[in-house]
């Protein structure tokens, strides 16, 4: 609808503009006559009373020339041109400007919407970025907590291992000392047994050497006497 209005306004403007030169041209045909009339009037006016006012005549000529100047057109041109302009302006104001205004408004709305959308998107992006940053912060905090926990666990395990190792070492040391003590006792016991065996063996040899028949008989008699005294 808006495009159609624009096209229509454009066509009208083109038609008006195209029509205006012909009107102007038609007007310009009369213009020559008007210039001649102007010059004649200038001659007549400046030659009244048998006196020729050259200065005024020059001024009038200048005025007549001005009617042909592009910069300072003649009055009809100005009128036609102004009329055409007003028509075009009216047409434009009637058809084109509303469409243009509406287009501009739509454009402005669209740009505003785009800007708002962009702003919203930027805000959303910032919010999301903030969320991400918060999540990253949380993740870092969590990672720090995990690392701290891991360190604490490692330290605890290290202490436990050290404690256990120390306990085992103490146990091993204690067992070793106990083994040494037992070995010493065993060695002492063996030594004592060997000394005893040697002593008893020596005593046996001494006894055997000293046990002659008389001693044997004395021992037997002693046994008989002692058993005989144990009356039941």
């Amino acid at each position: 609808m808006r495009i159609r209005s624009l096209l229509l306004a454009g066509l009208l403007a083109v038609g008006v503009v195209a029509a205006m030169p012909s009107v102007a041209h038609a007007a310009s045909g009369n213009h020559a006559e008007e210039v001649f009339e102007c010059v004649e009037e200038a001659i007549e006016a400046n030659t009244r009373g048998n006196r020729v006012d050259y200065t005024g005549f020059e001024h009038d000529l200048e005025d007549c020339k001005k009617a042909k100047s592009l910069v300072t057109p003649a009055l009809p041109e100005i009128i036609w041109g102004g009329l055409a302009f007003l028509i075009v302006l009216a047409v434009l104001m009637k058809f084109a400007f509303p469409a243009l205004k509406k287009g501009l408004k739509d454009r402005e709305d669209k740009i505003r919407d785009d800007l708002e959308s962009a702003s919203r998107a930027r805000e959303d992006a910032e919010a999301e970025a903030a969320t991400y940053r918060a999540q990253i912060g949380d993740a870092r905090s969590e990672a720090n907590v995990i690392i701290e926990d891991a360190r604490a666990d490692a330290e605890r395990i290290r202490r436990e291992v050290v404690t256990r190792a120390e306990a085992e070492a103490a146990d091993i040391r204690e067992r070793a000392q106990e083994d040494i003590r037992l070995a010493q006792e065993r060695a002492m016991s063996d030594l004592r047994a060997q000394v005893t065996d040697l002593s008893i063996g020596l005593a046996e040899r001494v006894v055997e050497r000293n046990l002659d028949r008389d001693t044997q008989v004395a021992l037997i008699e002693s046994y008989i006497n002692s058993v005989g005294n144990e009356t039941r």
């Binding site: 006894v207 046994y223 002692s226 005989g228 039941r232």
Partner: protein, 177 residues
């Protein structure tokens, strides 16, 4: 009573009956007792008499050789019977049971006395009397010469042991040390 102990008892009673029939209980007791103690103290003799590779005749010849002139032929024959029956390892137990049965028949307890030297009859009689007083029973002494006692005597009457040997004193000293 286990089957093995029943067999030991049966052999002992059989020997006692044979000795009684021959009226040689006391000498057979002495002969078998001495042989049993000798067998206990001699591992080569025990190995020789239990060697299955050695013919029975050869093993009996060993017995005859050891008992010749020192024991009654009846005693040698009884030993041959036990060896032929494969009872060498039970011989000491059978003889001990036979001695016990014989002593019981005489209403006496057997005292097995170990000494480093031989005892004369007077010493044996006084020892039997002393052991009888100590145990309150009529005791019959069987002497075993055992150098390992070193000196003094060891008497075993049933489950009672009266040890007065030098070996026992040395063992006590060793235990104290």
């Amino acid at each position: 009573m286990t089957a093995e102990r029943s067999k030991v008892d049966a052999y002992a009673r059989a020997i006692l009956e044979i000795a009684r029939a021959e009226d040689r209980v006391a000498p057979v007791e002495d002969d078998l007792f001495r042989f049993a103690r000798a067998l206990e103290g001699s591992e080569p003799l025990r190995v020789a008499l239990t060697d299955p590779q050695l013919p029975l005749e050869r093993r009996l010849a060993v017995v005859d050789e050891l008992t010749a002139g020192k024991a009654l032929p009846l005693s040698a024959a009884l030993l041959g019977m036990l060896i032929g029956a494969g009872r060498v390892n039970d011989l000491g137990t059978i003889v001990d049971r036979f001695v016990e049965l014989a002593a019981a028949a005489r209403e006496r307890e057997v005292a097995e006395v170990r000494s480093a030297i031989e005892l004369d009859d007077a010493q044996v009689a006084r020892l039997a009397e002393a052991l009888g007083r100590a145990t309150g029973k009529a005791v019959e002494v069987k002497v075993v010469v055992d150098p390992s006692v070193l000196g003094g005597l060891v008497a075993r009457i049933g489950d009672t042991v009266i040890d007065g040997s030098v070996r026992h004193r040395l063992d006590q000293m060793k235990a104290q040390l």
